[in-house]
């Protein structure tokens, strides 16, 4: 590990001023569970490490109503829509997400993901913002956030921008995060009817391991049809990704054909993914896993929806 200077500003303003001052020579550290390894292996050697730990307003989670989320073409009449969201501060630890009943209710796939991410000790330290900004294709939280259409609020000293998570990733370990910019907030729009989701991970070990494939599935149902079908993959390609062709194959299709539909969706997702052969696992096996895990995740979602309806009756 190369020598560096550790800075721990106590406010956002102070943080931005050092971040701007040191530019490319600085790296931001949150939980540090990935970053410290990269430092030790000298894959990165910043001169300054800027900690977010002392900045109070970057943690926490809960519902929040947001205006200005409407960036869709259908919403270009100048009207500001207000959207009910679930908000996650980037410094929220995986452990507090894991223990949140609200997350289990609103974003069940994210709850599934943090259950199997690293270990308890690691989840006590590691943050959701770090998991996103690290931009690893294998990030466990990426697929669940993608199926919930997560939007990131990216902040600089002078400005804010909102960006859908799926536009954030560029390649393995690379994102569109600019110099002097940090992730300020993660927003998950709450649909109506609400999306129900699940995440299934396959790894060699039961803990302290990366997914060879992680599959998140979310949808809602009316009496007859699957709606708002979202499928996302961790380790399915150079970045976490949505499997849009597979989604379309199920969208508005009859609920009664679930088994055949999801088996086909697994095959389509497997084909549209671009996993790679590495020393960890072959491409062929990853594709096989996608095929098998998409229906598994979908059936968990189905069980959850059924369970909720059962509660209401």
């Amino acid at each position: 590990m190369k020598v560096f200077t550790y800075l721990d500003p106590s406010s956002l303003a102070e943080m931005f001023s050092v971040l701007v001052a040191h530019g490319r020579e600085a790296r931001v550290i949150a939980g540090g569970t990935d970053l410290i390894i990269q430092l030790k292996q000298e894959r990165i050697s910043p001169k300054y490490l800027i900690s977010l730990a002392k900045i109070g307003d970057l943690g926490g989670m809960g519902p929040r109503v947001l205006t200005g989320l409407g960036r869709k073409p259908s919403n270009d009449h100048g009207q500001e829509t207000s959207v009910e969201c679930f908000s996650l501060g980037p410094l929220t630890t995986h452990r507090s997400i894991e223990r949140s009943a609200l997350v289990r209710e609103k974003i069940p796939a994210l709850g599934d993901a943090v259950d199997v991410l690293g270990s308890v000790q690691l989840r006590n330290i590691a943050t959701i913002g770090g998991n996103i900004c690290n931009a690893a294709p294998s990030a466990d939280t990426a697929a669940p956030l993608l199926v919930h259409d997560a939007v990131l609020r990216l902040q600089t000293r002078d400005s804010d921008r909102l960006l859908p998570l799926k536009e954030f990733y560029v390649g393995p370990g690379r994102s569109v995060l600019r110099e002097g910019e940090i992730l300020g907030e993660i927003l998950l729009p709450m649909g109506n009817p609400p999306l129900v989701s699940a995440y299934v991970k396959y790894s060699r070990r039961k803990a302290m391991d990366l997914p060879l494939i992680g599959v998140a599935v979310a949808y809602s149902m009316n009496e007859k049809m699957f709606q708002n079908v979202h499928i996302a993959l961790s380790s399915g390609g150079p970045t976490p990704m949505r499997a849009e062709k597979a989604e379309k194959s199920v969208e508005n299709e009859p609920v009664g054909d679930a088994d055949a539909l999801w088996a086909r969706a697994g095959e389509i997702a497997s084909a549209e993914a671009s996993p790679r052969t590495s020393l960890r696992c072959t491409e062929e096996y990853r594709r096989h896993l996608i095929k098998g895990l998409v229906p598994q995740a979908a059936s968990i979602v189905g069980a959850r929806i059924y369970h909720c309806q059962g509660d209401k009756q």
Partner: protein, 779 residues
């Protein structure tokens, strides 16, 4: 006084270990201590043309740089086994790199950062050479000569009994299979390779090191640095686990070179990555196994050809190659046996000892094939083993000694009771397809539609010590202090396995003195303690225990003689209990051992001291059976071990808690070997890919199945209190038991470790269509 032997007393060093106050080599601090760092070859095979270290030497804070250019030191073999002709092909700093990680130069500096920076300033001109990363390529090529003139064969070994060809032609059936095991690491909690070296003002070298073999390290230091043994002192403090990784020199020799050049104490502390890069893992072995067997299950002829991948240097390779033949011959009796072993050099990290010393590899092959034989012939696997194993009175194929005692029948009973529906007492015709494993019925979580379930078993025999192949000297000095307490000086290294506690239990019972009054240091010091062959071959309780019993018997005799004089009664009438000498006839008064000790000190008799430096008389084999229950996921092909059951004959469980711990640890380590662990090397450049715990998949506590342990005690004739051994035997059959369970679940016979989900799936699908679906990653 309660007998201590057989009691579950806590580890004598348990509290210090649990509270973190125990000191390890890495905790050591000395005035002026420098930090040593090693420069490693990035090439798997390359000539070192030139090393320019001027910039490193001139960096402020750097106190010494050592390279191969400093001069020649004698070649050595890192095992340092005394009294053996060894293949000596290693140099402290070689002039040719033979694996990625080979030590090329080293630096000592005032702190880690400076040492690290200095490494970056050393300019090495390499001439990369063609390389061979596995046995087939090392044997196929003439262009790669890892050690000139060897054709990459370090050693060959053959042994034969009877005439296998005649046996095969006479046998009703002949089974032929090929098996391949992987390169796995011991992964003790303290990384392997921590030492501190220091030359004092009169040139005497002291080395503190995390080792299993203090006297071997002393011998290697004396040999390579050309010092008399009297001027080399090796101290072992607490060690965080060995499992064979610390059987020879790791970085003690480099550390001593740096200390001599810097004329200051130097510490080298390998990181986990360096432990993976440059310390000795288990040998991968490719095994071609052929067995002739009659309809009734009698083994007629057995033949094994083994290619042992020793990596870049011979070290343990030749010994493992020879011993693998012994494990093979010692597994089942048979009139015709042939073994051929070839030790092959490859451009990978040199391999060494790892719990079982060749036996887990051989047992994986032999026990997998026995499973196949019993299934195809419709034989009960337990009866088959009872019929063919070496029992009491047989001359064991491993040692050539008579088997002193055998607990297999008792082990078989345990298995039949626990798995009565699977392997009932009377051997019937059991069809695996219709027989459902017991756990499935009770398991709520498993979803039968997606899981296949299976049960498998395997047997293992192992040794208690290294006789007759190794010198098994254990030595003890017992000194009675004037307050009646005893100091036990023992050259045996407790490396975390609990041998010190167990040996104290033996001493306490022989002496009649309470454990709290006997002190056995957690440190071994070659200047203070008498010679011991080291902690290997599961020998400390059999061999060390034997020496402790001999010395304690002598000490007790001397105490009683002195007391007899003081009390004026015949010595035969006296006994010691709880530190008190008393008259069995009840006539004379009782006196404390403390009074006896004081009298001896003060009346010219001299301190009461006893010594023993002895080899134990035999090498009693241990035997065990293990059963694995697995679930195989239809979708992913992954294998989940639901339950591991181990029943082992240990002779006498001096401390049952320690014995159970050894078996439980073996089962988990064996599970890692079976399912998860393997060192993966990039075929393009020879670089090991998984040198961290992220990618080297050691099982976590979450991967731990239910574990059941049963102990069988059929005492040996020669061990103190009937002890045999437990340290290694229990890891021997685990991988085969799991592989056999996978077969039971899926009908797929896995012949290559670790068992990969891809290959299980491929096996499932290949039974229908004969094609490769998932090529092995990286190949």
């Amino acid at each position: 006084m309660t007998q201590m032997v057989g009691q579950r007393i806590p580890l004598i060093d348990g509290i210090e270990k649990v509270t973190g106050s125990a000191k390890f080599t890495g905790d050591l601090s000395l005035p002026g201590l420098l930090c040593g760092k090693v420069l490693r070859s990035p090439y798997p095979h390359a000539k070192v043309l030139n090393i320019d270290f001027a910039k490193a030497r001139d960096l402020p804070g750097v106190k010494a740089v050592v390279t191969a250019q400093d001069g020649d030191y004698p070649p050595y073999n890192a095992t340092g086994v005394p009294g053996k002709k060894l293949v000596e092909d290693q140099y402290i700093l070689p002039r040719k790199a033979r694996f990625v990680g080979d030590a090329i130069a080293a630096v000592a500096a005032v702190n880690w950062e400076t040492a690290e920076e200095a490494l970056g300033l050393i300019e090495v001109a390499y001439e990369p050479l063609p390389f061979a990363l596995d046995v087939p390529s090392a044997l196929a090529t003439d262009s790669v000569q890892i050690h000139e003139g060897t054709n990459n064969i370090a050693f060959t070994f053959t042994m034969a009994q009877g005439d296998v060809e005649q046996g095969f032609s006479a046998a009703d059936y002949v089974f032929t299979d090929t098996f391949q095991t992987s390169k796995v690491f011991q992964c003790s909690i303290e990384p392997c390779g921590v030492s501190v070296a220091f030359f004092d003002n009169v040139g005497k070298l002291t080395v503190w090191t995390s080792t299993q073999m203090p006297f071997v390290i002393r011998g290697l230091l004396a040999k390579t640095l050309q010092l008399p043994m009297s001027r080399v002192r090796v101290i072992k403090v607490n060690v965080g686990g060995g499992f064979g990784s610390r059987l020879g020199a790791t970085n003690e020799l480099i550390c001593a070179l740096l200390a001599r050049k810097a004329n200051r104490p130097v510490k080298i502390e390998y990181s986990r990555e360096e432990s993976f890069l440059a310390t000795e893992p288990r040998h991968p072995i490719e095994m071609h196994l052929k067995t002739g067997v009659n309809k009734d299950g009698t083994m007629v002829a057995r033949q094994l050809k083994a290619y042992v991948d020793t990596g870049a240097y011979a070290t343990h390779g030749p010994a493992i190659t020879a011993i693998a033949g012994r494990w093979f011959a010692g597994a089942y009796k048979c009139p015709h046996i042939k073994y051929e072993g070839i030790t092959v050099y490859t451009n990978t990290v040199p391999a060494g000892g790892f719990r079982g010393y060749g036996n887990p590899q051989v047992a994986f092959a032999v026990e997998s094939q026995v499973d196949r034989i019993t299934r195809e012939l419709g034989l009960d696997p337990l009866d088959f083993r009872l019929k063919n194993h070496y029992c009491r009175g047989d001359v064991w194929g491993f040692t050539g000694y008579k088997v002193e005692s055998c607990g297999l029948a008792a082990c078989v009973n345990h298995v039949r009771q626990r798995f009565s529906s699977r392997w009932p007492t009377s051997c019937g015709d059991i069809s695996p397809a219709t027989e459902e494993a017991e756990f499935v019925r009770s398991s709520q979580k498993s979803s039968p539609a997606l899981k296949k379930v299976g049960v498998g078993m395997a047997m293992a025999m192992h040794v208690s010590g290294g006789r007759p192949f190794l010198n098994e000297l254990s030595s003890v000095i017992e000194k009675l202090n004037e307050d009646g307490t005893v100091n036990l000086c023992l050259g045996c290294a407790d490396i975390g396995q609990g041998s010190s506690t167990t040996l104290l239990q033996i001493a306490a019972d022989v002496l009649g003195i309470e454990i709290k009054d006997i002190r056995l240091s957690s440190e071994t010091d070659t200047d203070r303690d008498p010679y011991d062959a080291g902690t290997h071959a599961s020998r400390q309780i059999y061999s060390g225990g034997f020496a402790v019993k001999v010395a304690s018997t002598e000490l007790r005799g001397k105490i009683l003689l002195m007391a007899a004089k003081m009390l004026d009664v015949p010595v035969e009438r006296l006994a010691i209990r709880r530190g008190t000498v008393f008259d069995l006839a009840g006539d004379a008064r009782s006196i404390s051992v403390a009074e006896v000790a004081r009298a001896a000190h003060m009346t010219g008799e001299g301190q009461i001291i006893a010594t023993a430096s002895v080899e134990p008389p035999g090498c009693p084999p241990v035997v065990g059976l293990q059963v694995a229950e697995v679930e195989v996921d239809d979708v992913t092909g992954s294998v989940r071990v639901v339950n591991l059951f181990g029943v082992h004959d240990v002779g006498k469980a001096v401390n049952p808690t320690i014995v159970e711990g050894q078996i439980e640890g073996s089962l988990l380590q064996g599970l890692g070997y079976a399912l998860l662990e393997e060192s993966i090397v990039d075929i393009n450049n020879g670089k090991p890919f998984n040198i961290s715990f992220l990618d080297y998949k050691l099982p976590t506590i979450m991967d731990l199945p239910k574990i059941e342990v049963a102990i069988v005690e059929v005492p040996s004739e020669t061990g103190a209190f009937g002890v045999k051994s437990v340290g290694e035997g229990a890891i021997v059959p685990t991988a085969a038991a799991i592989a056999n369970a996978v077969y039971d679940a899926t009908g797929v016979r896995i012949t290559k470790l670790p068992i990969k989900p891809e290959e299980v799936l491929q096996g499932l699908q290949a039974s229908a269509e004969n094609q490769v679906i998932f090529p092995r990653a990286g190949v």
